[in-house]
Subunit: 408 residues, 2 copies
């Protein structure tokens, strides 16, 4: 097929990532020899396998046709009803099942929002750095994503206002991960949520709040999502079962208070894949609705991840050069570690892989500002022992690199 | 949110279908009182539920992490390997697992092809009438779909050549359902496949051959897909587990011989939903790979559907006015019945629903030529007894309508 005949989309991209040496390097980290802090995977050893096996039997015994036949695009009603109870109990979001659209993972929710609201050339505003999967979606729709800087409370309102006022056209979408952001681990403060929501309302920018990690809180108190403090019709809130149950089921949800917007998203979803698998929707619904089992699982998960976070924090304190710094995230899966100016995390990754330890260089997540001296470390997917060993090795890599620099 | 800020896509569309009275009417047919020949559903009573339940246990016992964790975008390797053996055994397609991309149903395959190859304004060529779900995808990407007429051997080469030569820009995509087409039930002859493939090659048009029904053959012999007779790199072949196992699993496949095209589709898929559920991919792989169980199931399915087809054919011969005509499809799920000129199938549907029987008016599938006097009847989703009763009632509706016309 002639290259010239292909769509402009994906023109410069292969395998979804901007072509990069980092991706090639990280391929090597799939070897079991390597302690990888690179991915964002939940801990497979904590999947509630026996409970899921029992649930599969129950579903195929009493609701096989529901699980296996074509079904409605909007999603399985009892799952949508559970999502309503869940987001109200955990975030104070009051919504009806008619406002909940089930998606094939949150990635699809991002894609549906983009295809429904964005035209080529549109401006999207996002935290800088941001989740790569979202940046890829915005790029695929040929939009221009502008990164806005954050401080310890989250995205800076003044910086956001500056971007909005200085865009040739007003931005269409504000993309935010408010809890334990990927990659920085930062949580947007309550005050900041209100300020950002106010700016979005003032300039009529759609807020897309992505909350994959909200239930994985290890310290501090839950904060209200923007949809509860902002003009509801201007917000979409995303949640998922991937981090609290199992990503391999591909079941997530969008809360969409505006009915016209909801209908458009359903139309987009119908075009995209008709509906999310009825079987996996039922697995999530039955598991999460068996409140006792689910809440017990979630407590165990939070306890295990808290221990891994604390182990990594302590190991970094013990092994990293004092010129490195990071904050303790209140939840989620990641540490964001700033390494001394002059060190390049991408160069460092090469050395680290040679010592059987891996991470993602911060540069991979950058939107408008290049950051070469940061790394994202995942703590959910390695045992405490491996975390200690891996961080010790990474500390050595860092110290050797610093020694080389200081020697020059 | 202001209407003006939304994307141009989906501007005039809600719920995926062009707004239509038909859709509203068909909503009524969900009642169990109604015998519906309207949908395209497989028979739920033939799902191999016990086997699937056993397979779920096995998967969660020996491969729980594989089933529940994030996985690669391309799909589960053993499933891709099975697809290779399957398409070779059934259609003579020789391909490697590296040419097989697993998708979240064939609907996603259509969507990925469109987003990868089509820009707004591009021309797509399709059989007229065609599958509505594909037409919706092409419309969502703001392309112009041109319908080409068929005779009993399939799409007419002269008509296709005429469209290609008279398009302002050469068409980018030729969309074909070659086996037991939805809605007409027509199969493209071997000679015609070669002729269409030659035209596509001559004008460098990508062939998207959608084959959801190929294994559901009740008479005649299998024919080779276009990918085996055409320039391979110019073809994409789609298959699915929806009609031979269960649509609620949402597992389908694309065979994409060209490696550059394959990479672009993987990038699009990664943006769309990261990957198809690892759990349902494994269910399909294990079931279909247990050749004995799968082949036994398929034989039973073919036998049952053949009986339903023959029952409907005999009932129509007995009960429909002689002015109606149709051909016996060699496979698939549908009869396409032409009713006398002067009768309007959409008007008739209203009367039919009042008599507790439903179908889809042919107009719903039209691309470039309006057809008001045809109806699509599904025979897979009702028992032979209900088929006989429903066709008898529909015969009465038709005869009464003809009587009214002749009286005028």
């Amino acid at each position: 097929m002639r290259e010239a005949k292909e769509s402009r989309r994906f023109a410069g991209r292969v395998n979804g990532l901007r072509p990069s040496a980092v991706r090639e390097m990280l391929k090597a980290t799939e070897s079991p020899r390597i302690t990888s802090f690179a991915g964002g995977l939940p801990a497979a050893d904590l999947f509630p396998v026996a409970d899921l096996a029992a649930i599969c039997q129950t579903i195929l015994a009493d609701d096989a046709t529901g699980a296996l036949q074509y079904t409605v695009t909007e999603g399985f009603l009892p799952l949508r009803q559970w999502v309503c109870r869940h987001v109200e109990a955990t975030g104070g979001i009051r919504c009806a099942p008619e406002e909940v659209l089930i998606t094939t993972g949150s990635q699809q929710a991002l894609d549906l929002a983009a295809r429904t609201f964005l035209d080529p050339g549109d401006v999207v505003v996002a935290q800088d750095p941001s989740y790569v999967g979202a940046l890829q979606v915005f790029a695929a729709y040929e939009t221009r994503t502008v990164g806005v800087s954050s401080d310890s409370e989250g995205m800076c309102p003044d910086a956001l206002r500056h971007v909005v006022l200085n865009s040739k056209e007003p931005p269409k979408l504000l993309y935010l991960v408010t809890n334990f952001q990927n990659p920085t681990g930062l949580t947007t403060s309550a005050r900041r949520r209100r300020e950002l929501a106010d700016i979005a309302a003032e300039f009529d920018v759609l807020v897309l709040e992505d909350d994959p990690y909200g239930r994985l809180r290890y310290s501090g108190a839950d904060l209200s999502p923007l949809v509860t403090v902002a003009e509801r019709s201007n917000c979409i809130y995303l949640g998922t079962s991937s981090k609290i149950l199992a990503p391999g089921l591909r079941v997530a949800w969008m809360v969409v208070p505006d009915t016209t917007t909801f209908s458009k998203l359903v139309a987009a979803k119908q075009t995209a894949d008709l509906h999310t698998a009825g079987f996996t929707q039922r697995i999530v619904a039955r598991y999460c609705d068996s409140s006792e089992g689910f809440e017990r699982h979630l407590s165990a998960l939070v306890a295990a991840y808290r221990q891994r976070r604390d182990t990594m924090h302590a190991a970094m304190n013990a092994c990293f050069p004092e010129e490195c710094n990071w904050s303790l995230p209140d939840g989620g899966l990641f540490f964001w570690v700033k390494i001394p100016q002059g060190l390049d995390a991408t160069t460092l990754l090469k050395t680290a892989i040679a010592k059987d330890v891996a991470f993602v260089p911060g540069a991979a997540f950058c939107v408008s500002t290049a950051i070469s001296n940061a790394m994202r470390l995942n703590f959910s997917n390695a045992s405490p022992t491996r975390i200690e060993e891996g961080i010790a090795r990474l500390g050595t890599v860092l110290k050797e690199a610093l020694y080389e620099i200081n020697r020059r």
